[in-house]
Amino acid sequence: MTDPLDRGGRATPGDRRPAADLLHREAPAPGVSGPSALVPPAGPPTRLSTISRATYLKEAGLKNLFLLCACVAVAGVLLIFLFVGYRGFPIFGKLGIAAFLGGRTWSPSAGSFGVLSLIINSLLATLGALAIGAPLAIGTAVFLSDVASPRVRELVRPAVELLAGIPSVVYGLFGLLALRPIIAKTSGGLGFGLAAAWMILAIMVVPTIAAISEDALRSVPDGIREASYAMGATKWQTIWRVLLPAARVGIIDAVILGMGRAIGETMAVLMVAGNAAVVPAGIFKPFLTLTTVIVLEMPYASGDHRTALFGVAIMLFLISMAFVASIRLISRLGRERS
């Protein structure tokens, strides 16, 4: 830790910045003033071979400033945990973690804050959405990477990207006012419920999963494809037996990220779920999830109720962290195996 710049230059594997290395190695160490002793003995010292102390300090200062900026991301995660935790952790102390996580009744007016049914509802909504959305998205990714002609690809890929850009509240509006009446007509109820949430969330996870899966499929070397075709395999055999297995780590990552998006989605689910704090008796019955309970009850919550809602937010935060950690773990395992 004596000389950040020099360390930065030397420890870089390979020679990505040879010129920079030269400059840094010849920079005078802090405390040494005057021209550097590393000036080539033959010939007069040139400006290229040394940098002034002022430049050196400026460069080192800037580097640390950039590092500070990069650490804002770390600070952000810590702050989220601290402040949401500061508001929410008291509920764990008051009720006990087991009662909070294991309680099946969420009834703020009766003072019981069991989130188990909310967790189950969130999982039901997410898994159902993935069951529809993941095949759709992976199929689209395969289409983009290996099936479509370049011209068709140039039409479909922007569509997938635009799908990612549409605000969730617009998805919710579409679900509430376009999809729900159709479901209501076919099922005979109001149309609020898991079925509507599954369809909306399925569309919402498609762009996330498709984009990352496509990257994974593209990063499979073409030589592998050619080898498969050379053995007489058809396109589908190549996709099913060669490409998908080769890209599976990336595809699993994509599905986990899609799962994170679905479980954290609030507005779209809120608008189609109908919002009842019980495990629904059917897929056309209203339900409440971890995210929607917060939006719905925050405006009037106070005291323990409010603390419990922050407790729910802690749960969501920890779930999303767990997803990110598991993606890391999977890609590390995948790298070790190959």
Partner: protein, 304 residues
């Protein structure tokens, strides 16, 4: 004769020794191929159809309510049902998003410069990357409650454009960081070598050579992140509030367009306003996205 018989016997034996192969060959592989590719086509078409129907629905319903766009955009909502225009929601959205963009840009770009140009692979860098990934996957509702707890309550800023912008900048940070880092890494190394060869220091190289070269792609990332922030509901509802107000000072609250859409649709009192606002919101977000795509395409053409 006996030779051929022996060979065919052998073939039969090996085929029956591996029954799955033989059974699969009963269905011609070309038939399977055609069917499977057909299914893949259907999946892709379904994705496009989902986007198409969503856009069509919003455009048709929104356009019907947006018969007089100037009045709808520039006048204030009136009465309990918020009829009339939606100007304060537009101003709130632009204010909070613009402020968030101003806050996040220098931090995210410099953080990306550190990761792409200065950082040495090690524990610190992997912690930073893990944090950025985590930040990107924090559900927006959690980000909203975080903004409420930290900026609105603990810092005492109250429901305001500034609180919303600060919370939104945490949402945008990982997106801008990632795209900027990719942009910087895609600048060819020989351009840097040329700069170093002329005696430029590291910061001179980064600020005068690398960043300008990466600028189009940095802008793209910034626009995508801004589009994302403009459409965000759960974060702003807890940091900016829901009052109809056109903020002038950053300490004033307001109701952004997504929040307006949600309230109008959920309460069902004024679906017209919900449709009209949703259409404007979609146009705004798509404009961000399409501009970003255009910038990428143009630079790609210019760079050959």
């Amino acid at each position: 004769m006996s030779d051929t018989g022996g060979r065919s016997e052998k073939t039969n034996a090996s085929a029956s020794g591996v029954p799955p192969t033989r059974r699969r060959e009963l269905v011609d592989k070309r038939v399977t191929n055609a069917l499977a590719l057909g299914v893949i086509w259907c999946f892709a078409l379904a994705t496009v159809a989902a986007l198409g129907s969503l856009l069509l629905y919003v455009v048709i319903n929104g356009a019907r309510e947006l018969a007089n766009p100037i009045e709808f955009i520039f006048s204030w909502p009136k009465g309990v049902n918020a009829e009339g225009g939606i100007w304060p929601t537009i101003q709130s959205t632009l204010y909070a998003t613009g402020l968030a963009m101003i806050i996040v840009t220098p931090i995210a770009v410099l953080a990306a410069v550190y990761l792409a140009e200065y950082a040495v692979q090690g524990r610190l860098v992997s912690v930073i990357r893990f944090a950025a990934d985590s930040l990107a996957s924090v559900p927006s509702i959690v980000m909203g409650l975080f903004g409420l707890a930290l900026f609105v309550e603990a810092a005492g800023i109250g429901f305001s454009a500034l609180s919303a912008a600060l919370a939104l900048s945490f949402l945008m940070l990982p997106i801008v960081m990632r795209t900027t880092e990719e942009a910087i890494r895609s600048v060819p190394k020989y351009i840097r070598w040329g700069s170093y060869g002329l005696g430029a220091s590291k910061w001179q190289t980064v600020s005068r050579v690398v960043l300008p070269a990466a600028l189009p792609r940095i802008l793209t990332g910034l626009l995508l992140a801004t589009g994302r922030a403009a459409g965000e509901t759960a974060v702003v509802i807890y940091t900016m509030g829901t009052s109809l107000n056109a903020p002038i000072s950053p300490l004033e609250g307001g109701r952004t367009m997504p929040v307006h859409v949600m309230l109008m649709a959920m309460e069902g009192i004024n679906l017209k306003a919900a449709y009209g606002t949703a259409l404007l919101l979609v146009i705004m977000v798509l404009a961000f996205n399409l501009t970003a795509r255009y910038i990428v395409r143009r630079t790609r053409r210019m760079q050959g």
